[in-house]
Assembly symmetry: C2
Homo-oligomer: 246 residues x 2
DNA sequence: CTAATAGTGTCTTTTAGACATTATACG
DNA sequence: CGTATAATGTCTAAAAGACACTATTAG
């Protein structure tokens, strides 16, 4: 088929970010308040246009940095910073009432940030518990996100929940050094379940390459001091750590 | 941020299809020969522009139907036809030398089609073994795909390989009614391994909702007649069927 | 008959889940 | 001291892997 510019309809391409973290035992997503119509005053996912000459991942990393100051790294690397990966693309013709916008959503897993989020071009940014944005078995959401962002967020949360089963990505929610108990509380918050601390300890310390002891100990949680670990090089967990059925 | 049309650079949005099937014990992908520059005469993945007013999945289903005559159905349903899901989006600025094109790749898992593929606007369509398109441990590819389609294909193959571990999607490669042995040969072809027929039989027949006996038997492969099954309603396999390590 | 595939069963090893016990901090 | 968390160990049940054996077809 010919690539005559008159052949194709004009599209705007944006990146939207599902930025997840665990704060106070709850899975939270980064939201920004919209300053413009439509959906003025409503909460939305951070995002923006892809620029000319910019690839999709760079646009997502740039938006992330603008909104949070986090530096992202891709699927393979294990440096400090947040994990970033492409999530899915949303392009229903009427998802934006003004024009045809195709949004390439990205998923970011970030450690709990010390400073509350700020900056960027958004009116205000806030961590909100996922349950208040999406609702759960006991009720609907407290606040409806703008556009189709509730669906994007739901897809991102499901991706995160399923991906920590088969990979060591849960460590992306932790600071560079963390304890087994802190990692377990990540799993519990993301899955919304309770895990047996002893079986969890055996599982993660027995999986080669998942955790690397770093030598020190800490007593952040009170009680007996815990060993500190950092994330190992392994990215695939085999056998996986499966979610409890119920 | 304002959505002034002058603010965003113009993009073309296409869908590309990774259509996989298993033919003669080999995982194969659908390719079309390019009739235009660039990459004239090279093999490429089927695809085309997303039309105004058309959502991404519809565009992919339309392209699939035009290229193969297959009717697609989404992730949930289990009707006759092929499985279609979004794979990933590729938008590097220089992936197409003529203009900025963002391609939303989709993955299709199809049963072995009786008729060789034809039709559509492509010069010719052909099933090609994935190993000849991507190469393997023993060597590089026999033919280089156009654009970044080798990477897209590789991502689609990896998605298929990993998804049949945790879901009953392998049945999408089979006709409506199939035997346990046929399903096993699907796994063997997709993963490129040999599986123990007895353990495989125990695993798949012992997973509730995976296979539903349909009553008849067949002797397609020679030997003792095998029971016929159809895909059950279960989409998630728990525990999963993990790939052998080596 | 042999060859090929289907289907069932048995044994061993690994892993998950439930839970006891000890260790080391804090107040 | 009691309480909280960490870390290790023990027992059992479930599942995976290796493999013997029988069943039913084609030729």
């Amino acid at each position: 088929m010919p690539y005559d510019p008159s052949d194709f309809p004009p599209f705007a391409v944006t990146v939207d970010l599902v930025v997840l973290t665990v704060r106070r035992h709850a899975l939270c997503a980064l939201t920004v308040r919209r300053g413009e119509e439509p959906y003025r005053g409503r909460w939305a996912l951070p995002g923006g246009f892809v620029r000319t000459g910019e690839c999709l991942d760079s646009a997502a990393a740039r938006e992330l940095s603008e909104e949070t100051g986090l530096r992202a790294h891709g699927e393979g690397s294990r440096l400090a910073g947040a994990h970033l990966e492409q999530l899915a693309t949303y392009g229903d013709p009427d998802r934006d009432p003004r024009m045809r916008v195709v949004s390439v959503a990205h998923l970011v897993l970030a450690p709990d940030l010390p400073a509350p989020v700020a900056g960027g071009d958004a009116g205000g940014a806030e961590w909100k518990p996922v349950r208040s944005l999406l609702g759960d078995a006991s009720g609907g959401p407290d606040e409806e996100l703008a556009f189709d962002h509730a669906r994007i967020l739901a897809d991102g949360v499901e991706r995160a929940r399923s991906k920590i089963e088969y990979s060591s990505l849960a460590a992306a929610f932790c600071p560079a050094e963390f304890t087994v108990g802190e990692l377990r509380r990540i799993y519990e918050a993301v899955w919304g379940v309770s895990l047996d601390p002893r079986n969890f300890h055996r599982k993660v310390t027995g999986t080669p390459g998942f955790l690397v002891p770093v030598g020190g100990t800490t007593t952040r949680q009170g009680g007996r001091p815990a060993q500190l670990f950092r994330a190992g090089g392994a990215t695939i967990l085999n056998p996986p750590m499966l979610r409890p059925e119920v």
